[in-house]
Subunit: 455 residues, 2 copies
């Protein structure tokens, strides 16, 4: 029994909820590893989740929200009263606060913000307005900044005096600002403390520090952090006003999330976001929105077969090879898609370098298309003892492999050029075109030599 | 022209190489954004890359190696003489050093290590021996540690005295060790400096600090960093000896790389690693190793069609629906695969929770399978004005969708249980089984009502 309870945190949480022992819930959640917290919470009903949240002090409730996916955290906040929600939101680090509020529906978000101290509400709202893939949406506002005319001694005194407040500021740089709040420079905490205490920090600081603007994109941030080993950089607006700092770890996390979401989108999970704890109809509807586009594309592609029904009826062995050509071309094309997406992400290829990508794919296509074509030709020939069948099937697969790698290599570049998401749309476009071409090639060639096939 | 030169860094690099002006190469590379450096270097021939590397001072050469993928950096090091390579390796941060040496072939790696100072060589070798997805392989050895009997004043003096050496140590914690090198505690740099200088750091430190062992897995590290907002944690061996520190940013980067590699593997890029600058035959062979397995699986699946040739010949309209059922089942199944891989990665489902996943997929499958089945049944009925054709096709697609989501949901869990990579193998297993079932369902049902279909 003990083992079972340990395995299933939601069972224990339900027991504790039934017993109504709030402190026990808090200490139980505290004792769990992070993924067990998420698993335990997400397997409760919506009402039970809200009850857990209400039973915790705001700090502990905020910790729960940080452990679960943002969309789920936003739903949970929408379900409790705004005053309670506001006290929890205030306990969140600034970046998580923005991430979650971005997902809360506008009316509920406004109610929550109205319950917060006006200045914090304004700051949270400003951050939530940035998309989550630019510096403004990734930054945190927990950083140390002082006016340039303060002395090193005054700053050190302030650090000592407010040590408790700053404990969560896990950063070793102090940012120096002009009286107008513009970024003037940066000073290493170590050097500040070791420096002369009578000097103004404006005289000790490094001037014109490396910085990014609030609209710097995630890809550009990756480039900057890759090149220099900064742990964090200051974020300024277009007039150089210091807004926050963006940390390397948060940039990497955002990249990781985007990559995983791209993968899921390429597999037909719209929005990149599905958990099996979501309501059935939400899951079914989202998956279906992708499937219903695909089935229409599939029917269009298959209509090529309908055109050549008579050929097919006369040489029914061809029917065996239709799905093989469709699947194999899809595989070859998807390999090319994956390499293009990687090279785009690494900046190794530009969206306008179509010729380069095409040549490079055609070369691989010739080698692999020939090998696969010969293989399938041989299989067809052996099966029906008909060399013409082998020739038609093999040639169709070889030529269609060339088409597939060309399209697969180029589509991500073209989508990127038109600012569309290569991960979401490449697959369906690829398979529709390669299916149509493959079916046409096989059946058109077969018609031409039909007397030789239908023996 | 200027524009063209700017666009194509490798053209400019070739010119500079031809002119033989080493300092110009260095300053040109220094002026480029990170992705242009990688693009410029990777589009040179192997000999030209080596020439660039030889023309740079070791520090600049090391920076180049950091900008390009590790496998390419390793190849490049193998191509230059060991003495030269060793001076470059010594300039790399400890984690990059281990990452690259891990990819260098053993004989060349041994030669390079032999040219390094023995202690550094031993440390590099020890780190390169760890896999890249445990704390030992992700840690860096640039950290501050002092024996517990040193006073705060002595430590601050050392920090000041060796400020230049420590400049690259972007970390604000000082680790405190026993005389035997065991981890005793940790002290915040800020508190150390603000503390009383006569005290031994052993008395100021936080005892029993949070730490990880060298064998802690990437997933566990993610859990720990998710739960607490540490920037870095100390890494110890099984006897609590301090080995290095692992930073949150490096954990996130490793997760991001793994996710992207998983995506590429699922699309048939074996090893997750292909660049179009690699030799043609290497690219063709790797892709082919995946394609050749797939074509065999495809032929096996399609052989089901061969069994029912006569049915198919009698009702040739069925041939149009074979690729539709194959593709659509693949789509539905891959959606389930993507959700399972996500839930496994987030720790929201355990590999043994088969029943839970199956029920949850079957429910979505019933909804979506019915919708898709009705859609395709309707299309078939309209096309041939034959309700039986619609019934057979629709039922086959509905039932096969249920099979596809079941297999798609469960395969990643089963593969994980047998410690195999779900990203690589889920796709081919899924499509082979769903193709066979789909073809069988459609053609077997069609045989049963053949007189009604072949009108």
């Amino acid at each position: 029994m003990t083992h079972n309870v340990h395995e299933q945190p939601w069972v224990r949480l339900k027991e504790l909820l039934a017993a109504g022992t709030a402190p026990a819930i808090e200490s139980y959640l505290d004792s769990l590893p992070a993924d067990d917290v998420a698993r335990g919470i997400l397997r409760l009903s919506e009402e039970e989740r809200r009850e857990v949240l209400r039973s915790l002090v705001p700090k502990a409730a905020a910790r729960i929200l940080e452990q679960i996916p943002e969309s789920e955290a936003a739903d949970l906040l929408e379900g409790i009263d705004a005053e309670n929600a506001a006290t929890i939101v205030e306990e969140l680090p600034s970046d998580e606060r923005a991430d979650i509020l971005r997902d809360v529906h506008a009316p509920e978000a406004a109610e929550i913000l109205a319950e917060m101290p006006p200045e914090e509400a304004r700051a949270a709202q400003a951050m939530a307005r940035y998309p989550d893939d630019v510096a403004g949406g990734l930054m945190i506002t927990e950083y140390l900044s002082f006016a340039q005319d303060r002395t090193a001694g005054e700053v050190v005194h302030d650090l000592r005096f407010n040590a408790d407040t700053y404990r969560g500021y896990d950063i070793q740089y102090v940012y120096v600002t002009t009286p107008g709040g513009l970024l003037a420079g940066v000073i290493n905490l170590r050097e500040l403390i070791l420096g002369h205490e009578k000097f103004a920090i404006g005289d000790l600081m490094i001037r014109e520090p490396e910085k990014v603007t609030d609209t710097t994109s995630l890809d550009d941030l990756r480039g900057i952090f890759d090149r220099h080993h900064y742990l964090a950089l200051p974020v300024v607006d277009s007039s150089n006003r210091l807004l926050g700092i963006v940390r390397a770890a948060d940039v990497e996390e955002a990249l990781s999330d985007r990559g995983a979401s791209d993968y899921r989108q390429s597999q037909g999970i719209i929005g990149g976001d599905e958990l099996r704890t979501m309501p059935l109809m939400v899951r079914a509807r989202r998956r279906l929105s992708w499937l219903s586009v695909n089935i229409v594309l599939n029917i269009i592609a298959a209509s090529v077969i309908a055109v050549y029904q008579d050929t097919l009826a006369a040489a029914i062995a061809l029917a065996v090879f239709l799905p093989i050509i469709s699947d194999m071309s899809g595989c070859s094309g998807n390999q090319a898609v994956a390499v293009s997406i990687r090279e785009l992400a690494l900046g190794l290829v530009r969206p306008n370098e179509l010729a380069r990508v095409w040549i490079s794919e055609i070369l691989v296509g010739v080698v692999n298309g020939t090998v696969l074509g010969v293989l399938v030709a041989f299989a067809a020939w052996l099966w029906k003892a008909n060399a013409f069948l082998g020739l038609v099937v093999g040639t169709a697969l070889t030529v269609n492999t060339l088409i597939a790698v060309s399209i697969g290599g180029l589509i991500p570049l073209l989508l990127k050029r038109f600012r569309m998401d290569p991960a979401l749309a490449s697959g369906p476009i690829l398979t529709t075109i390669t299916d149509m071409c493959g079916f046409f090639l096989l059946l058109r060639m077969a018609s031409a030599v039909l007397p030789r096939l239908a023996q």
